[in-house]
């Protein structure tokens, strides 16, 4: 058993434990005096379950994991298709399965499964000779589940697949023209999405981002209240469980999307520095794992994982500060939620396994 714990990378582990501690405190404060008072406890259970899964993956040879990536990917596609048919509809979106009374969101896990499979495919090719067809194929593997997810609809989740494409610049032979083509693809795709794919409420969110004062009582109201919470926190914050915006319920959805605002209000700029520093260390360590990886696939997975974590960080922390559009993207270890929490732990489990193997061999 001791041997098993050795598999956990200490530097990654400490950062992770620190972030979990911050997140748990935040949820305790956010849930206080609301019907969600026990949410921090529930999240702790998810964290414990996630840690066990992480430990299991960390002690598993990454090559065995990659071997199951194709089957997992197919299973994931089936799940995404199934959720559209039999999923539970909450607030106009069909994203969840109900399993044993708990909601489960397959798209959370699918993001990592897709990363795993794309890393595996590209990693098994010779990086110097990888063909265009192969790259287009990889893009297709990423875009296809995105389209299924957008059917739910869930734009934020769909967009969180994009960092997987960061693997591509790691290939040799990628010319500037390819980068241009990729940007063109994103540009045209974005325009097409705006024209044909986006739902009115999604367009509205973008519009509110462009002019936040236009709709203070609607979606813009949430961000406005969040900015007030953050800004009023000042340098040292209002103190634990003493944020007026949080405790008087001015701050909306404070246990999920806006959990970071709670932290920022009550712990101030110093608290924000601490949290962001920890996230920086987390990302750094994951990129270290990419450099230390023994195979291309492992390196690609770590790089993609860093990208996904970074996107969540950027979009969520930026969004609650009003610097980015209001797009429902959770902040790892802060936002409450079972599916996302387990997925983050699983990904870290794989990364720890990679780090472990790089150390022992």
């Amino acid at each position: 058993m001791r041997e098993r714990f050795r598999a956990l990378d200490p530097r990654l582990l400490w950062v992770l434990l620190a972030l979990i501690a911050l997140g748990t405190l935040t949820l305790y404060s956010a849930g206080r005096n609301t019907p969600q008072a026990g949410i921090w406890l529930k999240q702790t259970l998810w964290n414990l379950l996630g840690s066990i899964l992480m430990l299991m993956l960390a002690t598993t040879d990454p090559r065995r994991i990659f071997r199951y990536s194709f089957a997992s990917y197919l299973l994931g596609l089936v799940a995404l298709a199934a959720v559209l048919v039999v999923g539970k509809k909450i607030g106009g979106a069909t994203r969840w399965f109900i399993i044993a009374g708990q909601t489960f969101q397959p798209s959370e896990l699918m993001k990592w499964v897709t990363l795993l499979y794309v890393s595996h495919r590209l990693g098994s090719r010779n990086a110097d000779t990888v063909g265009r067809l192969e790259l287009f194929g990889a893009v297709g593997l990423v875009v296809f589940p995105m389209l299924l997810i957008q059917r739910q609809p869930d734009l934020g989740m769909a967009l969180s697949f994009l960092p997987i494409l960061l693997i591509i610049p790691l290939m040799k032979g990628l010319r500037t023209s390819w980068v241009v083509a990729l940007l063109l693809f994103i540009g045209v795709g974005g325009f097409g999405a705006w024209k044909f794919v986006l739902k009115p409420y999604q367009k509205q969110r973008v519009m509110i981002f462009l002019d936040p004062s236009a709709d203070l009582q609607g979606k813009g109201y949430q961000v406005n209240q969040s900015r007030i919470a953050i800004g009023s926190g000042g340098l040292i914050g209002k103190g634990f469980t003493s944020g007026s915006q949080t405790q008087l319920n001015f701050l909306p959805v404070k246990t999920t999307d806006f959990a970071f605002s709670v932290w920022a209000e009550e712990r101030g700029f110093l608290g924000v520095l601490l949290a962001l520093g920890l996230f920086g260390l987390l990302l750094s360590r994951i990129l270290d794992a990419a450099r230390a990886a023994h195979t291309n696939a492992e390196a690609y997975f770590c790089a993609g994982a860093a990208g996904i974590f970074a996107l969540h960080l950027l979009v969520n922390v930026g969004m609650v500060a009003g610097a980015l559009p209001n797009k429902g993207m959770v902040l790892p270890f802060f936002s409450a939620g079972g599916s996302s929490t387990l997925s983050f732990f699983l990904a870290l489990g794989v990364i720890m396994g990679i780090l472990h193997r790089s150390r022992v061999k």
Binding site: A229, V272, N296, G318
Partner: protein
């Protein structure tokens, strides 16, 4: 190939790391901007929406009668309100809100607009005095419109219902007209007295609103109180009214229209003032409830909103003969002993003026003429004087002015004169002698308010003291918690000639003992126990061909019956006037009402006082004040 031997991969991963830390740095800059640079601005915003200054409405003072019976009380009421800073702006929200509360959308929109423009102050009341169903509705509506809140505020309750509606008046929200007239005096949403003593005593009754600084959550619910200036309750006032006597007046009038006034001869305090039909002030507290419109405004034939005691102008009829007699004695055109012959009618200026008794009274002295209410006698007196002589006497004793009672919108008694005719009828300014003859029996141009007439009879009772009728009796002192008497308004003494007075007094006594009022058995019975004095009057509303014609006429064309006098005859305490509209002759309808007043005041009051209105009503919300009368 081992990725560790791929320089490009390693270079690009290195670049990723730089990008990662750049991303973190970018976020740090964003947060530094919000939390350090713009901190005070956001702190201000957070304060603004969480810390509110709310007015605490002050209860008005209570109103009690002279014996300490509560006439007006306060209780707690719940109102559905919108605080000024939470007023909705979007037209569709206002419309939806109006529909949810069954209000008129344009009216609500106007109201919201005026409250928004007015700035800080009392919240806008959407539904007042919520009952259980109202509270349930308010909770349902609040779920949809979280900016609404339920406010606890004191509310008036008029314990006697219609007992003294006109005297007490009612309170209401200050309206826009008043706001425009005196913008620095009234504030939007403030409750002020609108009618009656609530209006005239408003400055004394109204309290001073308090203020509290509170912490509210997103729903506007009070979470914590940072401290407050308590509201100061208005002064509790005592009225000169005697609730028991007032009740007698109300019961005696019954369904008949008219007015009753009883004055305290010592100082002019109004012991009873009842205008019939009365109204229930409680119904006016709600902003124009349909019930109120139906009962009082739409049904305006009987004009219940008019306080007939001070706003009704009646021909005084025979009750005016006392002034004519006084003028004639002072002018010296007759002596008390002068006998004038009544043949049932007499010709003046080429026209026959008829007496009420067609067969004639025969020869009459002044006392007999008053007792029998002979018209020919007073035609003759009038014919020997000029109208300005009658006016001069009225003016000398101060009867041509308003009485100055502390109630709003008192009308003035009209005693005609040549100057009055010129001013009022510029096209026909000449005063005709025949007009004086009519005034001689209280018809024609002369018109009095019941209160004005009562003041004249008070003057007769006190041998020349002109009292100022008033309602303000005293107030509860904040220092000693005892009743402090209000200053008594000035009286003017113009002593009557003792000989003249004794003739008039004798005449009024005879009216009840053997004259026109003695035909009523109830009046006779009371007069036997407590001799009192008074004069019947019948004021013509229309002219009739004969008695059969009169009997056929509609009720509203029948004569008004009056009775004015004082009691008891020796050492009188009260003066009274009773007017019963369209009732026929004064002796049959007005005199018995007066007799009931006399019976209560002189006989029943001390031995068997009536219970206060509504008995001892226990109000669970009543403030902890138990005023004991002196």
């Amino acid at each position: 190939m081992d990725p560790r031997n791929r320089p490009l991969l390693r270079r690009r991963l290195g670049a990723f790391k730089v990008m990662t830390w750049s991303l973190v740095a970018l976020l740090v800059i964003i947060y530094a901007w919000l939390q350090l640079v713009r901190h005070s601005e956001f702190k201000q915003l957070a304060m603004q929406q969480a810390v509110k200054v709310r007015p605490i409405p002050a209860p008005r003072g209570l109103v009690l009668d002279r014996n300490g019976n509560r006439l007006v009380d306060n209780r707690r009421a719940l109102h559905l309100v919108v605080q000024r800073e939470d007023l909705p702006t979007k037209p569709e929200v206002v419309t939806a809100l109006a529909e949810a509360l069954e209000l008129d959308p344009p009216a609500l929109a106007r109201k919201i607009q005026s409250y928004r423009l007015a700035g800080k102050g009392r919240p806008l009341v959407l539904k007042e005095n919520l009952d259980e169903a109202g509270i349930a509705l308010a909770e349902r509506v609040r779920a949809r419109f979280p900016f609404l809140s339920v406010e606890v505020a004191p509310r008036r309750v008029y314990l006697g219902d219609e007992l003294a509606g006109h005297v007490l008046g009612y309170v209401g929200e200050v309206d826009e007209l008043m706001m425009k007239a005196k913008p620095d005096l009234y504030r939007l949403g403030e409750t002020i007295g609108k009618e009656g003593f609530e209006a005239s005593g408003n400055d004394k009754l109204k309290g001073t609103d308090g203020q509290k600084r509170i912490l509210v959550d997103q729903l506007g619910t009070e979470v914590a109180n940072f401290g407050q200036n308590d509201a100061i309750t208005g002064r509790s006032l005592f009225l000169t009214l005697d609730a028991g006597l007032q009740k007698v007046a109300q019961d005696a009038m019954g369904e008949e229209a008219g007015a009753v006034v009883v004055l305290d001869l010592r100082d002019g305090g109004v012991l009873a003032m009842y205008s019939s039909p009365s109204y229930d002030p409680n119904l006016f507290l709600n902003r124009l409830s349909q019930d109120m419109v139906d009962r009082y405004l739409a049904n305006n034939v009987t004009r219940p909103m008019v306080n007939r005691a001070i706003q009704g102008i009646y021909a005084p009829g025979s009750t005016f003969k006392l002034l004519v007699a006084l003028a004639a004695l002072e002018k010296g055109v007759v002596t008390p002993q002068t006998v004038i012959y009544c043949a049932g009618k007499k010709n003046f200026y080429g026209r026959d003026f008829r007496c009420d008794k067609p067969t004639g009274h025969g020869g009459l002295s002044m006392v007999q003429a008053i007792a029998q209410s002979c018209d020919v006698y007073f035609y003759e007196l009038a014919s020997r004087m000029d109208i300005d002589d009658i006016y001069a006497t009225a003016e000398k004793y101060g009867l041509t002015e308003r009485t100055g009672i502390d109630l709003p919108q008192e009308k003035r008694t009209r005693i005609p004169s040549r100057a009055w005719k010129r001013k009022t009828y510029p096209k026909d300014p000449k005063w005709y002698g025949g007009e004086t003859i009519s005034v001689g029996i209280g018809q024609g141009a002369v018109g009095v308010t019941p209160l004005g007439l009562a003041r004249f009879y008070a003057l007769l009772a006190t041998r020349g003291k002109l009292i100022t009728p008033h309602l303000f009796y005293g107030f509860r002192s904040d220092q000693t918690n005892s009743v402090e008497p209000a200053p008594v308004p000035s009286t003017k003494d113009t002593p009557l000639d003792p000989n003249a007075w004794s003739v008039l007094d004798e005449g009024l006594h005879e009216v009840v003992q053997s004259g026109t009022a003695s035909t009523n058995p109830f009046v006779r019975e009371i007069a036997k126990q407590t001799p009192f004095s008074g004069k019947t009057g019948t004021a013509q509303v229309a002219t009739f061909v004969d008695k059969a014609h009169y009997a056929r006429q509609a009720k509203k064309l029948k004569d008004h019956a009056l009775f004015a006098g004082y009691a008891p005859r020796e050492h009188p305490q009260i003066a009274f006037v009773v007017v019963v509209e369209n009732a026929g002759f004064g002796s049959t309808s007005a005199a018995p009402v007066a007799a009931k007043l006399v019976k209560y005041w002189c006989l029943d009051r001390l031995s068997n006082p009536l219970p206060p209105p509504r008995g001892k009503m226990v109000d669970p919300f009543a403030p902890q004040q138990t005023e004991a009368p002196e």
